[in-house]
């Protein structure tokens, strides 16, 4: 797992969800642990797209449930 990508995911998550940096750990679920509702998730995904210059199709958003999922998904996209 890329440390750089993790740090950037953490930064975006802290900004978008107004959570503490130490809460943003690999296992943390955006909805269950970090207080995001369905609209927050949409906005968070848009913020990831902006941060990494990628597109995340709606049908793939379901794969991104935890911070770790986001880092893995983005790592693949960036590498690809």
């Amino acid at each position: 797992m890329s440390t750089d990508i993790f740090e950037r995911v953490k930064k975006v998550t802290v900004e978008e969800l107004d959570v503490k940096a130490e809460e943003v750990v690999t296992e943390a679920s955006f909805t269950e642990d970090l207080g995001a509702d369905s609209l927050d998730v949409v906005e968070l995904v848009m913020a990831f797209e902006d941060e990494f210059g990628i597109e995340i199709p709606d049908e793939e958003v379901g794969e991104i449930k935890t911070v770790g999922n986001a880092v893995d998904y983005i790592s693949k996209k960036v590498a690809g």
């Binding site: 978008e16 969800l17 107004d18 609209l39 927050d40 949409v42 906005e43 848009m46």
Partner: protein, 418 residues
């Protein structure tokens, strides 16, 4: 479990809250209203002001969104929602009521907005022009729609009674209070938070009202630009803000020993059925609305001591309103007083009726009538007391608030000492 008293059919005001160009909180803004201060300045939150014929407004000084909502919402909520939440929070605190589960079921919210989230509309539309519709925020729709102030105040406080919003342009705030009053009067709720909120100072809002030729162009003298009833008035000055009242069934308020500001006794509303933006030249809708409020209050016109006028400082609107007042009150029009506090806080559109009803209530509480500032050459019947420039002390038993709106809406509310 306590049982709420039976509805009494009478409605009192037990809490007030306001966000205005003269400050946030009644304790901040009311002394400035009495002192005759202006909250009008050169617009701070827009760029390229030289492109606009009107460059001044009543913006909210020192408003900190994160004082009222968490940082996430402070960033993304439209300002009309932030103002409404702030005003409602203050009003609820002022009412000092214990929100039992039983009461929450009988507690409603009716906070309207003349427009809704116009700033959000303006900002998000840019993504469409940039051919990026997928960048529109998921919060755009919920935080733009005009009913969301009522929705959010209900959600934040778990208030489960009647809940909707009213949109009637610049009479929205007064309509909201009037309708909330009738909801309690007929027994559908024991308490309501009611009022209006507006945040129109953004490029599309200012440009739009400039295009209507409704606004002043006295840009070099902001504090002297809003001058209702004065010969040299040349249009209204836009303001932002929110006003909310906590309305309560009288017996409920008495049973809990609440502080009672006043009783609401009359609510009149009507249409001009004449033109989309111009008032009827003889003020027939305005007269009808005042007459209806008097009839429903069951009082003679001579009982009214003070009128807080709609008085926006437009060439056509101000004299029309005074003609309507003379028609309704006859000789008594020369004994009561009619001032327009828009001279100080500007025209806050959908919030105006609520902020100005609140001013009526405080005027009655303190026995002092707020002035119409910038009144140097009275352009209406010289026999009418507009409380020029300096507040006047007077024992007030019945007060009336007028609000009129684009579309030809007219609203009059009558309040008396509780």
């Amino acid at each position: 479990m306590s049982v709420l008293p039976e509805p009494s059919g009478r409605v009192v005001v037990t809490g007030v809250g306001a966000v205005t160009p003269l400050g946030t909180g009644v304790d901040v803004f009311w002394p400035k209203v009495i002192a005759g201060e202006s909250g009008i300045r050169r617009i701070q939150q827009m760029e390229n002001l030289e492109l606009y014929s009107c460059q001044i407004a009543g913006e909210i000084p020192d408003f900190e969104p994160s004082d009222w909502v968490d940082k996430k919402d402070a960033r993304r909520m439209d300002p009309f929602l932030l103002y409404a939440i702030a005003a409602a929070t203050m009003a609820l605190q002022d009412a000092n009521v214990t929100l039992t589960d039983e009461l929450k079921d009988e507690f409603g919210v009716l906070i309207g907005s003349g427009i809704g989230g116009l700033k959000s509309m303006y900002e998000q539309t840019k993504f469409i022009h940039d051919l990026k519709p997928d960048r529109v925020s998921p919060f755009f729709v919920p935080y733009m729609i005009a009913d969301m102030a009522s929705g959010l105040v209900s959600i934040m406080n778990d208030l489960r009674g009647p809940n909707h919003a009213i949109v009637s342009a610049c009479s929205t705030g007064a309509n909201a209070i009037g309708d909330a009053y009738e909801i309690i009067k007929r027994g559908d709720a024991r308490m309501m938070i009611a009022g209006g909120s507006e945040a129109p100072v953004n490029p599309i809002g200012v440009a739009g009202f400039c295009a209507c030729r409704a606004m002043t162009s006295r840009n070099d003298e902001p504090t002297r630009a809003s001058r209702p009833f004065d010969r040299d008035r040349d249009g209204f000055v836009m303001g932002e803000g929110a006003g909310t009242l906590v309305l309560e069934d009288r017996d409920h308020a008495l049973a809990r020993g609440a502080k009672i500001y006043c009783e609401i006794v009359g609510y009149g509303f009507s249409a001009d059925a004449y033109h989309i933006t111009s008032p009827h030249p003889e003020g027939r809708g305005a007269a009808k609305s005042m007459n209806m409020a008097l009839r429903k209050a069951g009082i003679e016109p001579t009982a009214i001591d003070y009128i807080n006028a709609h008085g926006t400082s437009t060439p056509v609107g101000d004299p029309m309103e005074i003609e309507a007042v003379k028609k309704v009150f006859g000789e008594h029009a020369y004994k009561l007083a009619v001032s327009s506090t828009k001279s100080m806080h500007g025209h806050t559109l959908g919030a105006a009726g609520a902020i100005e009803s609140l001013i009526c209530i405080l005027a009655m509480r303190d026995g002092i009538m707020p002035p119409t500032i910038n009144l140097e050459n009275q352009d209406t019947d010289l026999g009418i007391n507009h409380v020029p420039n300096v507040a006047q002390k007077r024992e007030l038993n019945y007060v009336l608030n007028n609000s009129f709106g684009f579309g030809g809406h007219n609203v009059s509310l009558i309040m008396t000492k509780g």
